[in-house]
Amino acid sequence: MMTLNQQRKFKTFVTGAFAWLIALLLFFPIFWMFITSFKTELQAISVPPSLFFEPTLDNFGIVQERSDYLKHALNSVVTSFGSTLIALLIGVPAAYAMAFNPTKKTKDILLWMLSTKMLPAVGVLVPIYILSRDYGLLDSRTGLVIIFTLMNLPIIIWMLFSYFKDLPKEILEAARMDGASPWDEIVKVVLPLSIGGISSTALLSIILCWNEAFWSLNLTASEAAPLTAMIASYSSPEGLFWAKLSAASTLACAPIVIFGWFCQKQLVQGLTFGAVK
């Protein structure tokens, strides 16, 4: 017979082992992509799959040469960080105003904002395409930044609103008593208090932009194409060149995956959407 303590230890061990097993299974496709990018094309499609091989870096060089990885990576960085920054500049004041000065209409406005996100992108693909063409924004980073900004603005405002709403109101009142202007209130009181919420909002927005595929596939060609669009060009013609495909994919995902790993704690703390009391 096991003692109660032993029993508990055994239970923790089993839960832990089970969690590890599932985590490794879910992570396997990413691991496999990473491994395959160091194989030769022949090793990449060998059956049974080869686990032990002499790694080669050739694929990465070929990807850079063939599709100018660095240019597309720069496009991804500029569009995702740029649009997130702009959306925050527009969204923070709005969320702040709604959280601290709610009226009867606040709830309706928020739901309306979210409902603009409910409009499927395909529903407006043609008009956006035509407008972009007429204003010379096709295949330009400016065009993508504008669209990404508007696309994520509702979610950004919603997340920020939930944070601001949970801030202790007393502090603000105290600041106001001391004669702080609304601007001082935002910059000196609200922002420092909600820096965690703002950064996790920014993180989510950057991830969503980096991985956005509908607009970047349809509105960019070569110049402004971010990594999502570059990868799509590897889909059919190179169907069986898995090693190069894996190298391109690894290069496309690595920056955001590593970024996500580093900010994981921040993201976990922030993703409450006001759902946790």
């Binding site: 061990f13 839960t15 089970f18 969690a19 599932i22 985590a23 879910l26 992570f27 396997f28 496709p29 990413i30 496999w32 499609i45 060998s46 059956v47 049974p48 799959p49 527009i90 004041p93 709005a94 105003a97 000065n101 979210l114 603009t116 409910m118 409009l119 499927p120 992108a121 395909v122 529903g123 407006v124 693909l125 043609v126 008009p127 407008l131 508007l150 603005l153 405002i157 939930s162 609304p182 991985n211 595929a213 509908f214 596939l217 990594l227 999502t228 990868i231 799509a232 496309a252 995902c253 955001i256 995956v257 996500g260 790993w261 976990v268 703390q269 993703l271 959407f273 759902a275 946790v276």
Partner: protein, 286 residues
């Protein structure tokens, strides 16, 4: 704070979103009532409901509507159920908890195009894929996932992508669960299942509402996974509304019919949103 300042602070967001909604939408409505084929420029006469008729009688229409709903509902069920289970599993400390959490949420950072390419080629390929190799090792016939179970393949890819998002939100929520309450329940002789059923699940009601809401927004518009992996096929077996409209507009150059389809997608999204907001809306703090 004065009302005028409140309005001033909100104005940029409201105006931008209003333009973002109204301008393209009214153009779509206009296009849907005229003949507008990029192959026949200059013949843009008014045709009334004809584009809608064309779209609704398209052989791909019913499959696309059904596939859109099946995709939405299956992925929601898979991600919410597994998400709750897995985040409860990794809630208590164990060896390597931090690493397990990082591994579990990683697929969320992978872009949809890469997601589809990895699964299509390296996992599901019937000759060289990992699944095929597993089947063969077990002495089974390898399955040609993308041709035989195209919609299920897409569901697997999309669930793999969104399960981590559900886990992220639920893990965050569980951190705020009252441990004293749990301990008290344990003292009173509640077992693990009881605690999970009567304390954890009710605690997760709001986060579940949030996950359903946000995932629905993205799942109704799934495009890249289908574009890269199955191309909607075979036939219309994995075509959803987004892909069908894309097909009309960009492959058949028929902007009129595509616009009618776009409006249909907007209406469908609104119907879903209506039920969704009624069902989960009370759980949302707005």
């Amino acid at each position: 704070m004065k009302r005028s300042i409140t309005r001033l602070l909100m104005a940029p967001s409201v105006i931008l979103l209003l333009i973002w909604m109204i301008v393209p939408l009214s153009m779509t409505i206009y296009f849907s009532t005229i003949r507008f084929n990029l192959l026949y420029p200059g013949q843009n006469n008014f045709v009334g409901w004809m584009n809608f008729e064309f779209f609704i009688t398209d052989p791909g229409f019913m499959p696309a509507v059904l596939n859109t709903l099946i995709l939405l509902i299956s992925v929601l069920i898979i991600t919410v159920v597994l998400g709750v289970a897995l985040s409860a599993l990794i809630d208590k400390p164990f060896f390597g908890q931090g690493i397990v959490r990082v591994l579990l949420i990683s697929p969320f950072f992978i872009m949809p195009t890469v997601n589809a390419l990895i699964w299509k080629n390296m996992m599901m390929n019937p000759v060289y894929g990992v699944f095929a190799w597993i089947s063969q090792s077990l002495g089974l016939e390898p399955i040609d996932w993308l041709s035989d179970f195209p919609l299920m393949s897409v569901i697997i890819m999309v669930s793999w992508q969104w399960l981590p998002f559900a886990i992220l939100v639920f893990v965050t929520a569980l951190q705020s669960q009252d441990t004293e309450q749990k301990e008290a329940a344990q003292m009173d002789g509640a077992n693990g299942w009881h605690i999970f059923r009567y304390l954890t699940i009710p605690h997760l009601a709001r986060p579940i509402a949030v996950v359903v809401m946000i995932e629905t927004i993205f799942l109704l518009a799934i495009f890249a996974e289908i574009f890269v992996s199955t191309g909607g096929g075979p036939g219309y077996d994995s075509t959803n509304l987004a892909y069908l409209i894309y097909n009309q507009a960009l492959l058949q150059y028929d902007v009129g019919v595509a616009s009618a389809g776009g409006l249909f997608a907007v209406i469908l999204a609104n119907i879903v949103a209506f039920f969704l907001i009624r069902a989960v809306g009370k759980n949302l703090t707005v």
